[in-house]
């Protein structure tokens, strides 16, 4: 019995390998015959906050330059940066800045210095369930909810009256490879550690999804993942007594919203050829229009490439 199964598995594996070999062979041949020149592929990896945006760019760019393939994958800013350090990708998406030791490592490994391109901005949204009576929150309260040693565990600690049995605050967080996770730790928790026991989701979308399904939940995610009617974004202020600011495009551009951040692309050294053209296109008006359509804050007109 098990031997049979093994044989089947082996056969399937061999078949799959063969098929993969065949198709890749054919693919290259076909490309050459059609366009006369090999297709260029740009490898693009990183931030989950930006994965939808990067996908939208890739699709839009395809219309302009059909011979350039942009392959986009997520995994988190940390994953993208790790891949850039290894030199396996062309562009890393990051929703946080590269750390000095990461830049050092990249230089050591590849001999090139990573170059940063700010391509837009994001207001890190604090999401709660749509029926949550709370409308605003302070950074101090957020730290008391999320940080190790923080005192708040119930919604009543914040003065919010929740239905019976839903008073416990369900903390929704991100996995540690996420740039959003590191940004939140640095700017909200002031580099302190997270309280253990938060539900660590593997993507920006999953955070919003879980908050929408869970009455007592609170979570943080990029503003591009907002789903009005299912979740609510809270207004945020630094301290109690200060006016709370709504996470809107205008408030992010004017830097009034306390937890806004830049969204970045990183390349190894000065980009060249197709990668250069792609990055320049992203920084120009059509690329910035995609940023806006994805729900993020585009660069101001003077920051854009003409």
């Amino acid at each position: 019995m098990t031997k049979d199964r093994l044989a089947v598995i082996l056969a399937v594996c061999c078949g799959a390998a063969l098929a993969a070999g065949l198709t890749s062979g054919c693919g290259q041949g076909g490309g050459d015959a059609k366009s006369g020149a090999a297709k260029t592929t740009i490898q693009n990896k990183g931030s989950d906050t930006m994965v939808n945006l990067a996908q939208a760019w890739a699709e839009e760019y395809k219309k302009l330059a059909p011979d350039v393939d942009v392959e986009v994958s997520g995994g988190g800013s940390g994953v993208g940066i790790a891949a850039l350090i290894r030199g396996t990708i062309d562009i890393a998406n990051a929703s946080r800045d590269m750390k000095p030791q990461e830049i050092e490592q990249a230089k050591k490994n590849t001999g090139k210095e990573p170059k940063q391109f700010v391509i837009g901005h994001d207001a890190l949204g604090i999401y709660v369930h749509k029926d949550n009576p709370l409308t605003e929150i302070t950074i101090e309260q957020l730290a008391a909810i999320y940080a190790e040693g923080g005192k708040f565990t119930k919604w009543s600690d914040l003065g919010a009256a929740m239905p019976v049995g839903k008073d416990e605050i369900i903390r929704v967080s991100r996995q540690s490879s996420s740039g959003t996770y590191e940004f939140f730790r640095e700017h909200v928790l002031n580099k302190k550690d997270f309280k253990l026991g938060s539900r660590d989701m593997n993507g920006s979308k999953e955070v919003v999804e879980l908050v929408a399904n869970t009455a007592g939940a609170i979570g943080y995610s990029g503003m591009g993942y907002n789903e009005p009617g299912k979740v609510k974004m809270l207004k945020v202020s630094y301290k109690k007594g200060e006016p709370a600011v709504e996470p809107t495009v205008a408030n992010t551009m004017s830097k009034k919203y306390p937890i806004a951040r830049s969204l970045d692309l990183y390349t190894l050294g000065e980009p060249e050829g197709a990668v250069k053209k792609y990055v320049e296109w992203i920084l120009s008006d059509p690329g910035q229009k995609v940023v806006e359509a994805s729900g993020y804050v585009p660069l101001s007109p003077e920051q854009r490439k003409k």
Partner: protein, 315 residues
Amino acid sequence: MTAADSTQKQKVSFAVRQARRPAWALLGEKALTVLIYICGISAILFVLSIFIFVFKEAAPILFGGHFSLSQFLFSDQWYPTSEINKRYGVWAMIAGTFSVTALAMALAVPFGLGAAIYVSEFCGPRVKETLKITIELLAAIPSVVWGFIGLTVMSKLIVTFTGAAVGVNILNGGIILALMSVPIIVSIGEDALKAVPDSYREAGIALGATRWQLVWRVLLPAAKTGLLAAVLLGVGRAVGETMAVLMATGHAVHIPHSILDSVRTLTANIAAELGEAPAESDHYRVLFLIGVLLFTITFVVNLAADMVVKGIRKK
């Protein structure tokens, strides 16, 4: 011509063919034997080399001096990327792995074995074919799809029916894992029951046993080892599953106090963190150490099962 005659003739012609064989054919046969032998021992080589590789990556931290194995095993503080105080304790994840697996098995074993008995002994040929195809289809669903079902559909159902604060928890992960391991338990369990010779069944019926007595007193004892293998493969699937539990259990580092608490499993933790852990950092090595731990767990489970099977055989 009688049957005896024809076998005689066959034997003779076989001997003649063998005598006429050229040297290259004999050599070919030898080469084939060697090839099959290599295939046979390759499984052992693969397992060994995987273990050596995983252990080699984990060894520097294990023997590095600044790392405490007891803290690794018995502390629930998991802060691999902390900027103040890095702590590597996997106790909460061990508890998570065991609780989810135990629940999955508590659900899957009775259902799986029951279904195997029904398919092999009680239902008609037509129902049998339909059931087998459906069950095999169930086994072919990719684990990420199960995880997605857990995250969206199951989590809502659990919140509605149990009033739990959050829908991604042990119950969710356990149900999803049970659904994933039932098909394995059914198909292998059914094979084990089918392998019991029909003479056993006939003897049982001849002695006036009811169908239930036949199953309970004759078939189950006779197929014991095969059924145990079915359960073990189910356990293996449950312990080793990654993507589905990552999505369905809530991925929270937390020692569970009830079935409705979120947990994190060892496998899910590796999957979520290995991608960004800088190569050769402590974090990276600790993740490999978790791999060694998982390897040890599976090894112990298999060994224990092997001993149980041998014990059964001796009786």
